[in-house]
Symmetry: C3
């Protein structure tokens, strides 16, 4: 049999001023603020909203349900997760997907994984961290699961 | 010097009915069952067999030696590993690569890493987990290395 | 608004003899030694130097500041990090990025994350490991953060 092949691209995206995008990317039905940079091999899904002056680095996947504030840095290979497999498998129904809110001036290190949580302004997530709980206090978090390793000076 | 450049694509793949593939992908010499979905930026190597009704999400790499059952969800950025560097470096000889068997109705969270193991039916692997040992009892496993965090209700 | 779109490619790369590259890749202003293999969906940034006979597998990101010796294996989805967010966010100035030096005959497992460190000859980094400190003694390191789990026989 032949598969049904689709191609990635930029479809129905609202871009602010002076956004840079490095192809190939898969961006659809999302909103990207002024002066953002979107690296190659990235996917940003429907409904995602990204504030001004953010960098979304290569190989990153941002799922439906994610809102990112201003001045954020999302490293390479970062993956957001909107389904916690609570029923022992994928929810199967988009209405069950969770929200993920990232504040302003948040830096998320490369290869980090962010489950359905809220991350407050000025938080720093270390490279390779797995964020499983809300982050309510600015500081640096690392590990799997991520824990606070340094408060903000 | 000029490098020898090859291009990715779909080469010698046996597809079941109504498979969807989002390009760009690198699929070769593998078998993909009915009603599967294969996301963009994925690579599936020679000899891999994937059962019916599976979703293989973006940025995932499935190496030679992997067999996946039916109704499985493989998240974004999941990587399978068939070589445990037992000799202190890559085996260097494909005959030394290990097998990886994934049962039916298995869900593997995004950015997880799966070493040469067997994973039983109905297992759930958390996002960002590193699976280093066989999983013989259905339940949810997370962490690096992955451990059982919740048995199946 | 329309974004400024750029395309990835191979720009100003010094290749040794008989290098193989699988497109799509994003390689620029770097040096890649003889007989190397570069997999698809990889990015290698300015100033990176890779020695002879290395394999750089798919989905890997190698940042400015990285030097890799000879006979190294860099797995799938490996990400190097040159900025430790010491000021609580990205350094913002390339002069503050750190160096990362990988010796000869080093094997780095898939989905590993390598922060600004030096890794000695013959080291083995397990799949999914997060390397946060210099590795000075040959052996196998795994976990988040990576620790020595086996010395070299």
């Amino acid at each position: 049999m032949q598969p049904l092949e689709k191609n990635i691209g930029i479809v129905n995206v609202v871009f602010g001023d002076q956004v840079q995008v490095v192809q190939p990317v898969n961006l659809y039905d999302c909103t990207i603020g002024n002066y953002c940079f979107i690296g190659p091999f990235t996917e940003i899904q429907s409904g995602v909203v990204i504030g001004d002056n953010c960098r979304i680095q290569s190989h990153t996947f941002i799922c439906t349900g994610v809102t990112i504030g201003k001045e954020c840095f999302i490293g390479h290979g970062v993956v957001f997760v909107n389904d916690d497999f609570k029923i022992g498998k994928p929810a199967g129904n988009a209405s069950l997907w969770k929200k993920i809110t990232i504040g302003n001036n948040v830096s998320i290190g490369s290869n980090a994984t962010v489950l359905p949580v809220n991350i407050c302004d000025n938080a720093v997530i270390g490279a390779g961290a797995v964020v499983t709980k809300d982050i309510l206090i600015a500081g640096t978090y690392a590990g799997n699961p991520a824990v606070l390793i340094r408060t903000l000076h």
